[in-house]
Amino acid sequence: MTATTDTVEEMRALIGVAQYEEAGEFPVERGYIWTTCASVENGNPLFWDDDAARAITDGLIAPPTMLSVWFRPHHWAPDRDAPHLPLQIHFDLKDRLGLPEAVMSDNTIVFHDPVRPGDVLATRQILRSVSDEKTTKLGTGRFWVIDVEYTNQEGALVGVESYTGFGYRRG
């Protein structure tokens, strides 16, 4: 199946529109911060020494790179609704544009306000661009950029992940 011009324009109409808004399943918690620091032997005093955290970051914070961890669900939870797939827009694009294969070429994380224990984060996905048709060594398809924005309970932006995907048909 090849996408019609109409389908491409339909997907492009979603550029800049917040989709798949979702709240975290549980608050940011210190136990998981320690689990992560232990897994990489990160002794940064911000995560282990309350006095240092008070002096430098005005209280405890989570390691910035844990941003997406707060949205990965526990393996089981009672009465859980099926959560949205991470990067649902990526799968929507593949499906609507008729591109069976896809790869992520790179991803960028930008860190804004610190994330702190007790925060309840929310996320939303925003399509930023869909390219014209291109041919690479993988095949013919389109590049797209999807942002995942994270905010805290006060609505402040805490971070943005940007993913560049290439959906294609084998050449």
């Binding site: 232990a38 032997e41 990160n42 240092a52 430098i56 844990m66 961890v69 790179d106 860190f111």
Partner: protein, 163 residues
């Protein structure tokens, strides 16, 4: 408290383009991989079940997941800057997997030093995770470090934080 954490470890004036960060080498075991998967709540079997990784993914073993690699890159950078270093941006490119038995080596080279119009001191670091001669992951990082001894990037909010 034995350690003085109020004085910045690294000041902007001490950093120059071309500087190399202290190298970090780490022997990866199956425990490393499983701990990292658990810590990032990544339950996909190729990060804990060797049979699945080999039979279904066609890889030689279980392998380190991407979110945990981000945590390793963070540790590598803040080991260098100390706690006042504030990460702003990281761009990852994945080239190959890291397996139990590998010695992963993190190296970093400063590729940019700038002060923005709010007075924030920015350092760009080109970080590479290698195993032997193979580059496994690269990370372009941007991190703020104190310009003066009493400067603290973590106190920046709103327009004064331009990551």
């Amino acid at each position: 408290m034995a350690e003085d954490t109020t004085t910045p470890v690294l000041l902007f004036s001490e950093v120059a383009v071309g500087d190399r960060l202290p190298q970090l080498a780490y022997d990866v075991t199956a425990t490393t991989v499983v701990l990292g998967a658990l810590a990032s709540r990544d339950w996909r079997p190729m990060h804990h079940d060797k049979d699945f990784a080999v039979d279904r993914n066609g890889t030689q073993d279980i392998f380190l997941n991407t979110p945990n690699q981000a945590a390793w890159f963070e540790r590598f950078l803040t080991d260098w800057t100390g706690p006042h270093g504030r990460l702003a941006r990281m761009t990852f490119r994945m080239h190959g997997s890291v397996f139990p038995g590998d010695t992963m080596v993190f190296t970093g080279v400063v590729d940019e030093v700038t002060v923005d119009d709010t007075g924030c001191g920015w350092v760009g670091v080109d970080v590479t995770l290698s195993v032997g001669d193979d580059v496994k992951t690269t990370c372009d990082a941007r991190i703020a470090v104190p310009v003066e001894g009493d400067d603290n990037p973590w106190s920046r909010t709103g327009d004064r934080w331009q990551p």
